[in-house]
Structure formats: C-alpha cells, structure tokens
C-alpha cells in the first residue's frame, strides 16, 4: 500500500459523490420542480425554452470552455413569436424552463377583418388569430379546414396547414393544350384570392393541389366544367 500518505488536512482527502457527500440545505426559493426543468446538458437543436416570457427554439449550440475556466454552452436562439435571433452563453448546469407550448387541432371557421376565427375540435372553444400569425397560410386556408395551432400560453403563435391543400382556380387565361413539357407557367387566381404560378394548360374551374410548405403547384386534381 505504497499510496498511503499522511494527510495534513481533511480537505486533502478525496470525497467522491456517493461515498460521503453532505447535502446542501435547500432554501424555499430554490425549491422549484427541477425535474421538469432543462439544464445545459439538455441543449439540442430544436429544443424549445422559455426566456424572458417568450418561447425560443435552439437553432445552434456549441460547447465552449477556456482551458482554465468555467464551461459554457453558446447558443443561438430564435424567438418563436417575433422570429428575432438571440445569441447567449449559458454556464454549464444552468437551468431552463421548457417553453410553455401546446399544439391543438382546430377548424378554421371564418375571417372577420384581420381576425381569423378557429374552433377547437374537442372543446368547441373558439379562438381568434391575427393575420400576421398565419403567415403564408392566409394564401391557402379555406373554411372548415383542419389545422394545427401552436399556443404559447393562451396566445396562438403559429398556424400549420396540412402539407397539401386542394383549391379551385377562379381566374385564368384560357388553357393552352399540348404544352406540358416546356415548363412555362402563368399566374392564376385561386378561390382564396391568392395568386399561384401554374402550367399553361390549367383552366379556370380546375382544382389544383398545392404544397403549403413551399407554396408551389403540385398537380391538377380535377378539370373544370367547359
């Protein structure tokens, strides 16, 4: 046992967790539910956290540590309400509150000025969402469509449409037969009043399929009456 050495101070002894560690007393203000909290080791892309009362999503993160110094996680965060970016570094072990977010399936009922009214399919509760919160969805949304609405607390912050919707063409230059290969397009007007670029053969009255993520025409579903 050549390792044995007289130790001058108790602090020179090894104390390892699980062998003999004394617990620090917790004060009332610290006694929050840490089980539901994140800390810096949970940080991943797409983690959603609550900061200064707003929901943020982690866009980028990096472990940083001076050789002789504290470890940090450097993060780039996006405000899910405003879209603004924020860069911040967090000390290792720092705690985060998960973003208070809930997604509900709702049905679009009607629009009133800049307010869009939706109904919760399970509780029948109705909520109003501002045009800005809808983003590009205003171009493709039609009455009775089921959508996913992301709530931050009671506030709707994002509306996600199904990946594909089908809409009728209400105004179009007359279709040109036989021109399917050139890739040329023309703008048409849809039932939602939005404009869409479609192949030249599309006619007024046709029903077309649109990818709501890209806002692009996909295919013709039904030919209109001639």
């Amino acid at each position: 046992m050549g390792d044995q050495q007289p130790l001058a101070s108790a602090l020179e002894n090894v104390r390892w967790p699980g062998i003999a560690s004394k617990r620090r007393l917790t004060t009332d203000s610290e006694r929050v539910n840490h089980d539901s909290m994140y800390d810096t080791s949970d940080i991943r892309k797409n983690l959603k956290v609550e900061l200064d009362g707003d929901p943020y999503v982690v866009v980028e993160f990096q472990f940083v540590k001076p050789g002789k110094g504290n470890a940090f996680t450097r993060t780039k965060l996006k405000n899910m309400k405003t879209g603004a970016y924020l860069e911040r570094s967090y000390r290792s072990g720092e705690k985060f509150t998960p973003a208070n977010l809930e997604e509900k399936q709702m049905q679009y009922l009607y629009a009133e000025g800049s307010q869009y009214c939706f109904m919760d399919n399970t509780s029948y509760e109705q909520v109003y969402v501002q045009t800005e919160q809808l983003g590009d969805a205003v171009n493709w949304i039609t009455e009775n469509l089921n959508v996913d609405i992301l709530f931050h607390g009671s506030e709707a912050i994002a509306v996600t449409l199904p990946n594909f919707v089908e809409l009728e063409v209400t105004e179009a230059e007359p279709g040109m037969k036989g021109d399917t290969a050139s890739g040329a397009t023309k703008p048409v007007r849809l039932a939602t009043d939005a404009s869409l670029n479609v192949p030249l053969f599309i006619d007024q009255g046709d029903v077309v399929k649109i990818d709501t993520r890209s806002g692009q025409y996909v295919e013709r579903i039904k030919r209109g009456r001639k």
């Binding site: 020179e12 390892w16 560690s21 940083v64 002789k68 940090f72």
Partner: protein, 308 residues
C-alpha cells in the same frame, strides 16, 4: 451488406491523419533543435490536480491525468533541464467541436527561461511547423498569418477593449468567463495570433504572481482565429503558496459539492527544489485542425468520442 459507416469515415481521414503525423514530427524536431529532452510520465496518477474547473476520471484508487504537469515538474525539480512530452490527457465532460474528453497535449518546461520568452519561441515553433506542412505561414480560410510578430495584449486591455470593463486582481468568475468567451475570445487571433497575457491574480492557476505587481499572474494564452491554442506559465515554485492554492481549490470544490482531490506532496517537495521555469501546454488536435483549416477536432482525430 451495409458499409460500416465507421470505416467509411476513417477512409475519408487518410489525408488529415498523414498531415497530423507531419505536424507532430515537426513539433518534435523544433523542440529537439532547442535542446529539449522528450520524456514520458504516467497517465494514471494518485493526485490529478485540484483545479475547480477540471474534472478527472477516477480509475480505481487512481486518476487519469488532466495534464502531465505535476510529474514533469518533479523531473524539473530533479534537475533534468529542458523537457517536453506529447501525451493524452483526459477531462470529464469536455466534448464539442473544439473539445474531446481524451485529447493530445504537447507540454514543455524549460528552466531559466522567462514566460514571455516562451511566447517568442512559440512564434518560431508555429512558423516552422506551418512552413514544413504548407510551405507558407498563411491560413487564407481563417484569414490568419502565423508570421511573427504576433499581437501581444494584456487581459486588462483585452477586457477594456472588447468587454468594456477592467478586471482587477479577482474579478467575479461568472462575469469574467462569460465575457471572456462571448466578447473577448471571438476578437483574439484575428489576422495574426494573439498572446493574451497578465491574467488576474485569481486566475493564476499554477503560475507565479508578478513580483512587481501582485494583481496579475505571469501567465499567457495564445489564440488563433478565436481559438485557445496554448496556455503558459511562469511556474509557481513556492511550495507554501502552491499548497495554499490546492487547499483553496478544495474548499471551493467542497462548497460546490464537487469531489475534493488529493494534494500532491511529491510535487510540493519538488517545487522547493525547482529552478525558475517557464512551461507551456499546447493542444495538438487543435493545432492540426487550425493548420489544415478544418472546422472540428473530429476532422483531425481518428477516433473522437462521437465515433468510438
């Protein structure tokens, strides 16, 4: 049968691994040309150091080293003269694009040399290694030229310039390190390497306080493109002061519910016999990454922790 993705990764690493070997050979060549002796010290030790921010792995009754410093200083205390070593070091919890929990360190100790003279030697070392590897000191993708003279900046001036405040002899560690990583480091080593020197006394680690100004420690770091590459000290040789720092570290560890760690009595004995010495530690993986202008340590290590 599906291609083993580990093997595919290694096949793509042929060139970086060849370059890596060249870097290490050039580093050894430089140190030998300066009359330094290559030594080996144990990876498995009884006392791994007490630094509050470095957590060692426990291996039975011993620990894996976080740096070979203590045993190398014992060789210096025994009068071996200039020594260096390239070895693996192990640090719990350090993983990221510029960290790997097991990494390769170059560490060297030269008696009778002032610590800022080591900065001059580092200028020559990096220049020679870059020339032997690339034929130029320029790193165009990083927009850095390793050609001396490098920028020399005190910690005090760096903080005044980039963080807008003056750290005294013992700045609040949370504020100091947060601003160091967020505001100061990103501005260091741009266009040419930076020697950041004169650390606050509270950040002396194992370095000597400046006898003319006890508010600062004789310590420097070299930054290249915002990345910390070298840490160097005018080594503390006062055994009583070193012992007091070990105990203060352990008090801090205990207050943070971190394990306390053994004091190395053999080191304390050696310090008493140690001549004035400057020592430096350089991350080899980071050096290779910078010289090859790659983004991550994973690009220059055959088996980073993510690919084990």
């Amino acid at each position: 049968m599906e291609e083993n993705s580990g093997l595919a990764r290694l096949r793509a690493l042929h060139e970086p691994l060849r370059q890596r070997a060249k870097v290490i050979a050039a580093v050894r060549h430089f140190l030998e040309s300066r009359g330094s002796l290559e030594v080996e010290t144990p990876a498995l030790v009884r006392a791994p150091g007490t630094d509050v921010e470095l957590d060692p792995w426990r291996a039975g009754h011993r620990f894996l080293i976080t740096s070979p410093e203590f045993h190398m200083k014992r060789l210096i205390g025994a009068g071996l003269g200039r020594i260096h070593q390239i070895c693996h070091c192990f640090r719990v919890g350090e993983a990221g694009i510029h960290h790997n929990p097991e990494f390769t360190m170059l560490e060297w100790y030269w008696p009778g040399v002032g610590y800022l003279e080591l900065a001059d030697e580092l200028e020559v070392l990096l220049t020679e290694v870059a020339l032997s590897l690339r034929g130029t000191t320029k790193l165009p993708k990083l927009d850095v030229d390793l050609e001396p003279p490098w920028e020399r900046l005190t910690v005090r001036h760096a903080f005044e310039r980039y963080a807008g405040w003056t750290p005294g002899r013992a700045p609040d560690p949370d504020r100091f390190f947060l601003d160091l990583v967020d505001k100061v480091e990103p501005n260091l080593g741009k266009s040419r390497p930076t020697v950041l020197y004169e650390y606050p006394a509270s950040q002396a680690a194992l370095s000597r306080l400046d006898p003319k100004n006890h508010d600062v420690a004789m310590r420097f770091e070299v930054y290249v493109a915002g990345i910390e590459l070298v840490n160097a000290f005018d080594e503390l040789t006062d055994a009583d002061e070193q012992r007091a720092r070990f105990i203060a570290d352990n008090e801090m560890r205990a207050s943070r519910e971190k394990p306390t760690l053994p004091v190395d009595h053999d080191l304390l004995e050696a310090l008493a016999a140690m001549p004035p010495t400057a020592g430096a530690a350089l991350g080899i993986d980071r050096l290779v990454m910078l010289l090859l202008e790659l983004e991550s340590l994973n690009d220059v290590m055959a088996f980073p922790v993510d690919a084990l």
